[in-house]
């Protein structure tokens, strides 16, 4: 009896193993079929320096999953067709944890797609990332990217990778029908935006929908707002010094930014649900109130990726939802833009990896994804007419018109601060009316490792 059960179990396990591997075998055989096609000249392309590297494989490991992963794979097709190099993408929601484990365990991928430069910086310090400037030349990188981007990719003196996807955070989304009906204009300055908010309150609307809940990352929406405000009231040098830890959190500069935040966030008439609504609403749900009919709130500040969170069957970006640039506070600071991006850093040195990096530095490498919408390319050679909608093009134009571009500060700060005390400290500050701000700010400062 026991033996029978064991046999059945074993057979089941083997079958399961075979079934779960079936997919890959198919993929392999179809790859084999492709290579059996009439020979293509794989040496004539801009990526491999005239070498034929066909048949080799490059593994890319990143945090894009589901649809994003499929779109990333699609956008690698032009490279695969030109060079015969197989690009295998693997995505994981636990990228942040796994990439460290793999690097320290001696099994790094060929290329890692870092959503946060802070994480990349940790690995650069550990010596796990190669310098792309050495491979591709600084001239080529400067030609492909704005200086702001190449400055950001410079970590510990090396270019730690190439930028692939840009995220623009200085955007305010609004409900178009109400704006048209009431004749509200797009605010050009911070004061106009506050006046507009007052007008909305007077007309019986709630101006703002804000939500900062994001499970383990709760608080990042608050830090994004503060970073945008910092860029609008201080010169970029102050912002950079703040990121570097030279300007403290417990400083007049940062406290001034908190005052601007408090003026909107802690005005119960301005914000849907007040403090409680802010801390308990998941950031992805916070856009819904402005997208339904009739809207429960009229404005929502969030990065361009929020388009992916619009409620299904509800409003569409374009007819119902518009966006405007989060207006400047001090005109002397120009039109700063806060953003983020995905940095693709090489962790192995092989000719085919170098070729992929060269490709990823071109706008062409983003085309397939960009045409699906909701994507902004940081490359200089990406023409605006590739963007599928006016919304995408408008966002790309805001990026192009920026006088200053700065990266999300919390992504650049050491993890203990940028993904730790800054988030939790600001959540405590928003949550509790009687919070001891001095102590919160001091504890953020003292958490610098």
């Amino acid at each position: 009896m026991f033996k029978k059960i064991l046999l059945v179990l074993l057979a089941g396990l083997v079958l399961f193993a075979l079934a779960s591997c079936g997919g890959e075998e198919e993929a392999e055989s179809s790859a084999a079929a492709e290579s059996a096609e009439p020979a293509v000249d794989y040496s004539d392309n801009p990526y491999t320096d005239g070498e034929d590297l066909s048949g080799t494989t490059v593994n890319i490991f990143g945090a894009f999953v589901d649809n994003d992963a499929a779109r990333f794979e699609d956008s690698m097709v032009p490279f695969e067709e030109a060079t015969g190099i197989d690009v295998v993408y693997e995505g994981s929601g636990d990228f942040e944890t796994l990439i460290t484990v793999r690097a320290e365990g001696g099994d790094p991928p060929d290329v890692a797609a870092f959503p946060q430069p802070g994480l990349a910086a940790d690995l650069v310090r550990g010596g796990y990332v190669y310098d792309v400037a050495e491979w591709l030349g600084m001239d080529y990188l400067s030609q492909q990217y704005n200086d702001a981007w190449t400055d950001l990719a410079e970590i510990e003196g090396i270019q730690a990778g190439v930028w692939y996807r840009a995220s623009i955070k200085s955007l305010v989304w609004y409900n178009k029908p109400v704006f048209e009906e009431e004749g509200y204009g797009i605010p050009e300055t911070w004061d106009e935006m506050l006046a507009l908010s007052d007008q909305m309150v007077a007309d019986g609307y709630t101006p703002w929908a804000i939500g900062i809940e994001s499970s383990g990352a709760t608080g990042w929406v608050a830090t994004d707002w503060l970073e945008d405000i910092m860029l609008r009231i201080h010169p970029p040098e102050v912002y950079d010094a703040w990121v570097a830890g030279e300007v403290k959190f417990d400083s007049p500069e940062f406290r001034e930014a908190l005052d601007y935040l408090a003026e909107i966030w802690f005005n119960e008439d301005y914000v849907l649900g007040g403090r409680e609504g802010i801390v308990l609403t998941p950031f992805g749900d916070a856009v819904t109130p402005i997208a339904v009919d009739p809207p429960a709130a009229l404005m929502h500040r969030q990065a361009n990726f929020i388009m992916g969170f619009m409620p299904e069957g509800g409003a569409e970006v374009g007819p119902t939802l518009g966006f405007f640039y989060l207006p400047p506070i001090d005109s002397a600071m120009g039109r700063p833009v806060l953003g983020a991006g995905d940095l693709l850093g090489p962790m192995q040195d092989r000719p085919e990896v170098r070729a992929v990096m060269r490709y990823l530095a071109t706008g062409l490498s983003t085309k397939a994804w960009l045409e699906q919408g909701g994507f902004v390319s940081p490359h200089n050679d990406t023409p605006l007419d590739w963007y599928p909608t006016d919304v995408d093009r408008g966002i790309a134009e805001i990026l192009a018109a920026a006088t200053t571009f700065r990266f999300d500060a919390s992504d650049l700060m050491p993890g203990a601060v940028g993904a730790g005390t800054f988030w939790t400290g600001m959540t405590d500050y928003v949550n509790d009316e009687n919070a001891n701000l001095d102590r919160i700010l001091q504890s953020i400062d003292s958490s610098y490792p």
């Binding site: 083997v14 308990l280 993904a419 949550n431």
Partner: protein, 362 residues
């Protein structure tokens, strides 16, 4: 006569030699399969088959061969060696997966060690000083203590009361399976369900169960998860909901073991049902209650999932295990995370010692 002796001796030698050969062959197979399974080129299906055959069949073969080898030895040596043959593999696994990581964690907790820094440096107490001076640790200790007292107390009480009550009804098994059902749900799954129970909509109708009831009764929606310190209780309720079923099932079988004659005698002596519950049933199942309680206490000491999913420790609901996770994986401060793990480890030791002692007595 001597011929027979010689042939027996010869057979023995051959058998011993065969056993040694088999053991050597097994070791070679193990080493080969290990390197084979690490080979990325090999087809995945073949790797899976090799892992199954070598993993399951190999261990069986190893046990049989080594046991055979021991059987060749003189009786005294045989009796001495045999237990070790069976315990060594298990002990090796423990050594690699539990004892080594424990020692390594204690070691790392005394050094500066962060993500990407390569190796631990600067021996000292710095991690402990930083952690112990964090006011949030005190809050986490308080919360852990709340969990530690409330979850076992309520889960065991409810479990016992339900076990006694359903003992007398017709649809006992149905009632029991209803209460046992949450046990089948993972902690994360249960937390996701309870997030909806406590959910507070920003606008429109309240889809959260509790807020729908509150609004239905004419009240204003409540942000349950941020009312301090009650939010801790709301999280603890989830764990009680999960663990009551476990306590009930174990205690139910103990309650069924209370002899009917004992209960009848108590009734004849004029004891009421309440008195029977406290003075007959509880003393009779006391040892089971103790076992269930310690099991739940150990589980609660490690509580992490529920807090992580529900609040991530915001609004003063943090617990030590969640702080450790944040230091380790969010901040990349391995040293500090290890120090927190050591603190948690020290807190668990007394209960583990108690548990092992009572296990040895039983």
């Amino acid at each position: 006569m001597s011929d027979i002796e010689e042939s027996v001796l010869g057979r023995r030698t051959i058998q011993t030699a065969l056993s040694i050969l088999a053991a050597a062959a097994l070791i070679i197979i193990f080493v080969w399969s290990f390197s084979f399974m690490r080979n990325e080129e090999a087809p995945k299906a073949l790797i899976a088959v090799v892992a199954l055959v070598v993993g399951i069949g190999g261990i069986w073969a190893l046990f049989i061969t080594v046991d055979n080898l021991v059987s060749q030895m003189p009786v005294r040596v045989r009796d001495f060696l045999r237990p070790y043959v069976f315990i060594t593999p298990a002990f090796l696994v423990l050594l690699v997966y539990i004892i080594y990581p424990t020692i390594r964690t204690i070691y790392v907790s005394f050094f500066d060690y962060t993500r990407g820094s390569g190796a631990p440096v600067n021996f000292g107490l710095q991690n402990y000083l930083v952690i112990l001076s964090d006011p949030k640790l005190l809050v986490a200790f308080r919360n852990n203590l709340l969990w530690l007292i409330l979850v076992p107390a309520f889960a065991v009480s409810f479990g016992l009361v339900i076990a006694v009550l359903v003992d007398r009804i017709k649809w006992e098994s149905f009632a029991k399976s209803l209460i046992f059902m949450p046990m089948a749900i993972s902690f994360v799954g249960a937390s996701v369900i309870w997030r909806f129970v406590y959910y507070r909509s920003l606008w429109g109708s309240q889809i959260g169960l509790l807020n729908a009831i509150v609004v239905g009764l004419g009240g204003d929606p409540v942000g349950w998860l941020r009312i301090e310190p009650w939010n801790n209780i709301f999280l603890i309720i989830i764990m009680i909901w999960l663990q009551t079923g476990f306590a009930m099932v174990i205690l139910s079988s103990a309650v069924k073991g209370v002899p009917a004659s004992l209960l009848e005698a108590a009734r004849i002596d004029g004891a009421g049902e309440v008195r029977i519950f406290f003075q007959v049933i509880i003393p009779y199942v006391a040892s089971t209650i103790l076992t269930v309680t310690t099991t739940i206490v150990i589980l609660v000491l490690k509580v992490f999932d529920v807090v992580f999913v529900m609040t991530s420790g915001q609004f003063n609901t943090d617990v030590v295990a969640n702080m450790m996770y944040n230091q380790m994986f969010k901040a990349g401060q391995y040293g500090r995370g290890a120090a927190l793990a050591v603190i948690l480890f020290i807190a668990v030791i007394p209960i583990m010692v108690r548990n092992i002692r009572s296990m040895n007595q039983a």
